[in-house]
């Protein structure tokens, strides 16, 4: 292992420290060649059968996917799985693999790997840019085959120990499919504090780091031990005993500090001068509702409904959705539950299901745009289910990616229509649903005064607001240094939003990653937001920060920060306040970590 003993500066994306062995997850582009060893001729039939079984499993998965997708989506989107199915069935593929097993005496993994490499090589020589991109289809199929093959393998060699997941990147569906009880933490190459791996890691209270150099990721094997420090952003490969011991001690002290904070969960989240900030939680699945009581939150600030589509791999009908929402609202008792209607597009979906051909999906038909202009059928089904379930609790409905008042008016018109139909059908439904919009485009923030006339609340989605304001792709680590929520431009947009909300007497929540960052909370409190919503694991620290500062001080800091020339200066102002009021953040190495 060429990097033994080396200490790398990486990006901290979920707090905590983990020390443990590596579980490498290799996929696209990673040189994850399986071990090549010759098999005895007697083993050939068994290896052939393993490969054929994996082809059968893959076929079944693809058929299920095709059917799930075809019933509800464009036939065009389902067509891609037809193509994948055909690739799996393609004789030249299977015969190439089988030939390598029988003639070369290779194990199935290596035979498949070598065949994949052959075709990938052919593709990398393609001049045409579009076609080269479409070669992804072949890679998808090989990945799927390899995944099914290694699943068989994994069952055989299961080892019952917890490991640190190491990967170039993890898609939302891959992250969800990992076995939580086996994970100590995450170390990934591509990602940021707002990527799905980070969000998931925080909700599982596992440390995570991103920005790990590809050559380190690719050279780590299951025998290597690493330390990841999700407070200060460090990754150490095969540490010496002294380093390991000191990190184990720090991990323990950090865990103790978090436990201490957790005991405060019944204390009101109010500033020292008596202003209460509602603390709510973001959840991404129906089970998340259990976190409500455990965290002492006042409500659900964001329920992402994309899980409905991801986990079941089908699009649930109105009755199914109705039952899910109803159960959740009843479980939440009277606590407010903000449900965000499906936010598909951008990075929000498994490409295998909603394969968009947009060259820039973040600026494409996502969120409310997709709902209004292309998938109104799905949108109406979801709204009907929500309107009906709403009578069972304190439901608030929120729409993502709004950039114009016209969109809100159109949504209102659709809702009136649906209500009229529900009345005809003599069904129970919400007569006056509480409706809000996400403020996540600069346009929405600047037009908040107009939007405020038509909605009951705003929820600022800072992850996208920062991305769209600073014109940076959140997933691109090369511009990650520009991802600065403390930038005065962002603060001014939040200020404009809060001012409009005050004028129309509606409330403002912040549900992005910014709300969970202790270093930025003084700015948000000072700007006058009513609610902060974050993954439940972040709440104890947020509560501590809020209870340690005064609104008076925070407002002065926010005002000065807005007038400051850059993000560093404004962040310094916030840190100065924190050093005075919450010094334990710094002694525990939680705040004040190096920021470029």
């Amino acid at each position: 292992m060429p990097f033994s003993g080396q200490n790398f500066k990486v990006i901290a994306i979920s707090p905590g420290i983990a020390v443990g062995r590596v579980q490498p997850i290799r996929r696209k582009g990673a040189p994850g060649a399986p071990v090549l060893h010759e098999i005895s001729p007697e083993m050939v039939p068994a290896e052939l059968e393993r490969f054929r079984q994996c082809v059968r499993d893959t076929r079944e998965q693809l058929i299920a996917l095709t059917q799930a997708v075809r019933t509800k989506l464009h036939t065009e989107d389902a067509g891609i799985f037809d193509a994948h199915l055909m690739l799996v069935d393609d004789l030249s593929l299977t015969s190439e693999v089988e030939k390598r097993i029988s003639d070369n005496l290779w194990p199935a993994e290596y035979a498949l790997y070598d065949t994949a490499e052959y075709f990938v090589r052919v593709f990398s020589n393609i001049q045409d840019e579009f076609l080269r991109e479409r070669a992804a289809d072949i890679r998808d199929v090989f990945d799927r085959l390899m995944g099914n093959l290694s699943k068989q393998e994994r069952r055989k060699t299961d080892r019952d120990d917890r490991r640190i997941i190491v990967a170039n990147s993890l898609s939302p569906s891959e992250t969800v499919s990992l076995d939580n009880s086996r994970i100590l933490g995450f170390a990934i190459e591509t990602g940021s504090a707002t990527c799905h791996t980070a969000i998931l890691a925080r909700s599982m209270r596992l440390p995570a780091v991103a920005g790990v150099p590809a050559e380190v990721i690719n050279s780590l094997s299951a025998d290597d031990k690493i330390i990841i420090d999700g407070f200060s952003g460090r990754l150490i490969v095969n540490p010496d005993d002294r380093t390991e011991e000191s990190y184990r001690l720090r991990a323990k002290s950090a865990v103790e500090f978090y436990h201490k904070l957790e005991r405060d969960k019944r204390l009101r989240p109010e500033t020292t001068d008596g202003f209460e900030i509602d603390l709510a939680i973001n959840i991404g699945s129906a089970d998340g509702i259990a976190e409500l009581k455990r965290s002492g939150a006042s409500g659900i600030g964001l329920l992402r409904t994309e899980f409905l589509f991801l986990e079941t791999r089908t699009l649930p009908d109105e009755e199914t959705q109705f039952e899910i929402y109803k159960k959740m609202l009843i479980a939440a008792e009277d606590a407010p539950v903000i449900v965000r209607t499906m936010d598909i597009g951008g990075d929000k979906l498994d490409n295998n299901i909603f394969r968009s051909s947009e060259s820039n999906p973040f600026l494409g038909l996502r969120g409310i745009r997709l709902c209004l202009y292309e998938r109104r059928d799905l949108f109406e089904t979801q709204l009907r289910a929500l309107l009906r379930a709403g009578v069972y609790g304190n439901l608030r409905i929120m729409f993502p990616m709004v950039s114009s008042v016209l969109e809100v008016l159109e949504v209102r018109r659709i809702i009136s229509e649906l209500q009229a139909r529900l009345a005809e059908e003599k069904k129970e439904f919400l007569r006056k649903p509480v409706l809000g919009v996400m403020i996540e485009t600069p346009a929405a923030a600047l037009m908040a005064d107009e939007l405020g006339k038509h909605v009951d609340f705003f929820s600022i989605g800072t992850n996208d607001l920062v991305q769209y304001t600073m014109a940076i792709d959140r997933g691109n680590e090369r511009v990650a240094y520009l991802y600065k929520p403390a930038h005065p431009a962002i603060l001014k947009l939040i200020h404009t939003t809060v001012a409009a909300a005050r004028k129309h007497n509606i409330y403002v929540s912040v549900c992005g990653q910014m709300a969970a960052d202790p270093e930025l909370i003084p700015l948000l409190v000072g700007l006058g937001v009513n609610e902060l919503s974050a993954e439940s694991g972040s709440l104890p620290l947020m509560r501590r920060v809020i209870r340690s500062i005064s609104l008076y001080d925070a407002a002065r800091v926010a005002e000065a920060a807005m007038a400051s020339p850059d993000a560093y200066t404004s962040l310094e102002l916030s840190l100065d306040l924190l050093k005075r009021c919450v010094p334990e953040l710094f002694t525990e190495n939680i705040a004040g970590k190096e920021r470029k």
Binding site: A83, D90, L91, L93, F119, D128, F130, L131, R134, D137
Partner: protein
């Protein structure tokens, strides 16, 4: 698209932006299931050795036929002319893509 020649051998041109990628290739393979007795191949005009069996999606994709590529479409066997003309038509409508 352009069609040159006659009988069961024509030259077709890839007209859509994305080229002959997995989706149109799969539709092409499907079309041939109506012609079980025909053998239909596609080869790049600039590299006639690159012959793809139109029943194998993989070999079609490996042709790497991007927008503007000229391909020799030839058929033999039972109903070969009908099969060739059906596939030529599919090229003519740019695989129903832009």
């Amino acid at each position: 698209m352009t069609t040159v020649g006659s009988g069961s051998k024509v030259v077709v041109t890839v007209g859509n932006r994305m080229g002959l990628h997995a989706r149109p290739a799969s539709r092409l393979v499907k079309m041939l299931s109506d012609f079980p007795g025909a053998t239909v191949t596609l080869a790049r005009e600039d590299n006639p050795g690159s012959r793809a069996d139109c029943r194998s999606i993989l070999s079609l994709i490996v042709l790497a036929a991007g927008q503007g590529t000229r391909l020799i479409l030839s058929g033999s066997g039972e109903n070969a002319e009908a099969a060739v003309s059906k596939i030529a038509d599919f090229f003519a409508v740019n695989f129903d893509e832009e």
